[in-house]
Symmetry: C2
Subunit: 269 residues, 2 copies
C-alpha cells in the first residue's frame, strides 16, 4: 500500500485508527474456548468499518506455541487487502539476517509493514526497505516507561537518541517506505517530532490503557497527509469481557473514529 | 544453566566456543535436499565435543516459513541439556509483551538464553530476568557496520550509548542472569568493555567471516570465570560445501577449540 493509498483510505473512512490485535487467550470470552483466530475474526468484522489498519504483535502469537505463526497468518489473510497490516515485531539484526525477517513479514505473513528496532543501525534496517510497497516502521520514541532509559539520551548529550534515530533513518528511506513509532504518552513532544520528520507517517501507540492524549497528538502531530496511525489494542479487544465483546469492540472503535473525524476537521492543514 | 556450571563446562572442554546455527537452506550440501534439521543434527554431532554453547538465530528459522519454529524446537531438543542454548532473537517490547517473548524462548523452545535489544529500556528487558537459571543477553556493542550509527553516541555525548546500556542493565540483573553482546570486530574496545562489566559473560560474535581478532578479545576480555562465549557460524557451518561438510565443520570447531585452550592458558587470571 502506498502513502497516497493510505491517505485515501483515511479520507474515505474519516479515521486513522489502527486496531492492535494483541490477543491474550486468557482474556477471550469463555464461549470461544481460547480460540484466538475466532476471536480475531469477530474483532475484525466488528471494527473494519472504523479503522484503516491492523497491528498484530508477533509476541502474542509466539506465546501460542509452535502453531502461533499459522494463527497469525490466518488472521492476516482474513483481514484482506483493504487494510494496512503491520507486523509489530520490533526486529533488527545484522544485514543478511534482517533480510530473513523482512522476507518472513512481507512474503510469508503478507504484512504491509513491520516495526524495526534501530539499535544496530543502518544495515539492520535497510533490508526492510528493499520491498516496493512495503514499509519499515522504526522505533523512535516509544510509549513505555523504559523509553526514559536511553531514548532521551543523557544529560550533556549532543541530541536525544530518538532525534538522532529519526534524522539518520531519513537518509535510509523515503516517506514512502519508512514510518516512525512515536508514543502518545509523550504528547508534549509531538511538535518537535513532527519537525524532525515533516512528511513521514507516525505509528502512535499509547492511547487508552497507557494514558496517551489523542487530541494533543493530533494537534501537534498531523501533517497534510494526516501522517498519523493511532493504535488502540486493549481498549477495543477487551471493551467487554463476555458475549457482548464484539459489539463493545465495535462501539469502542466507532468512538475513536468519531474523535479522529473531528481531529481531521480541526487539524488537517 | 548457572554461571558456575557454564564455567565448569568451559574448563572441562577447554573451550568457550559457541556454534551459531544460522542455517541457510541454499548453502546446505545438495545431498540433504534442503533438510535444515538433518544438516543441523550433523553439525551438532560433529561439533558438540568442541563447544559449550549453540546459538540458533531465529530469523533463519522464520525464513523457513510457518513450520520454521518447529524445526528450531527440534534442533534445540536434539542439542540436549549438556550445552548452553541461546535463542538469538534480539527481541524487546513493552513489559507485558516482552514477557510473551520470554515465555516462548524459555518454555516453548527450551532455550537457556535469549538475546535482547535494549532500545526500549528497563521494562522491555526485565521480563526476561524472571526465570531462574535463564539468561538475557543484552546487545551492547554489536559486530556489524551499523554499530557505528548509534551505539558509539555522537560527538559531544556524555558517554557512548553502549557504555550506558552496560551500566544501566547491571542495575536490572546480576552476572548470574545477564550477559552482554560485544562484537569481536571492536577488539580495541575489550579492555574498556571488561572494565564496564567486570563479572558478566560477554557473547562475542564477529570472529571469522566478519574479521574479528580472537586473541585480542581474549587478552583484554577474559575474566576469572573466562567470561567469554565466542561465536562462530559461517566458518563452521559452511567449512566445506559438499559431502565432507560435517568433517570440515568438526575440523573448524576443533581448530577454534585449540586456539581457545591456548587463550585460557595464557589469559585466565
Amino acid at each position: 500500500m502506498t502513502r497516497q493509498e493510505l491517505f485515501s483510505a483515511i479520507q474515505r473512512k474519516r479515521s486513522f485508527l489502527c486496531v492492535g490485535l494483541d490477543t491474550d487467550p486468557s482474556k477471550i470470552p469463555g464461549q470461544l474456548n481460547g480460540d484466538v483466530l475466532a476471536f480475531n475474526k469477530a474483532i475484525i468484522d466488528a471494527t473494519r468499518d472504523y479503522c484503516v489498519a491492523y497491528k498484530p504483535n508477533t509476541a502474542f502469537y509466539e506465546a501460542l506455541g509452535l502453531d502461533g505463526m499459522r494463527i497469525l497468518k490466518d488472521t492476516i489473510d482474513y483481514i484482506g487487502k483493504e487494510h494496512f497490516i503491520i507486523a509489530d515485531a520490533k526486529r533488527g539484526d545484522i544485514g543478511n539476517t534482517s533480510g530473513y525477517y523482512a522476507s518472513f513479514a512481507f512474503h510469508t505473513l503478507g504484512a504491509d509493514a513491520i516495526t524495526v528496532a534501530p539499535y544496530m543501525g543502518a544495515d539492520s534496517v535497510q533490508p526492510f526497505l528493499n520491498y516496493p510497497g512495503k514499509w519499515a516502521i522504526v522505533l523512535a520514541l516509544t510509549s513505555n516507561p523504559g523509553s526514559d532509559d536511553f531514548q532521551h539520551g543523557a544529560v550533556g548529550d549532543a541530541a536525544p537518541l530518538y532525534a538522532r534515530v529519526m534524522q539518520r533513518a531519513q537518509t535510509w528511506g523515503s516517506p514512502e517506505q519508512l514510518m516512525f513509532v512515536c508514543g502518545a504518552t509523550h504528547p508534549e513532544k509531538f511538535a518537535e517530532l513532527r519537525q524532525l520528520a515533516p512528511e513521514h507517517f507516525f505509528l502512535v501507540p499509547g492511547i487508552g490503557a497507557q494514558g496517551g492524549d489523542l487530541d494533543a497528538v493530533c494537534r501537534h502531530g498531523m501533517n497534510a497527509e494526516c501522517g498519523l496511525l493511532v493504535n488502540s489494542s486493549r481498549g477495543i479487544l477487551y471493551a467487554a469481557p463476555d458475549a457482548g465483546f464484539a459489539e463493545a469492540a465495535r462501539a469502542a472503535a466507532h468512538e475513536l473514529q468519531q474523535q479522529m473525524e473531528a481531529a481531521l476537521k480541526n487539524y488537517l492543514p
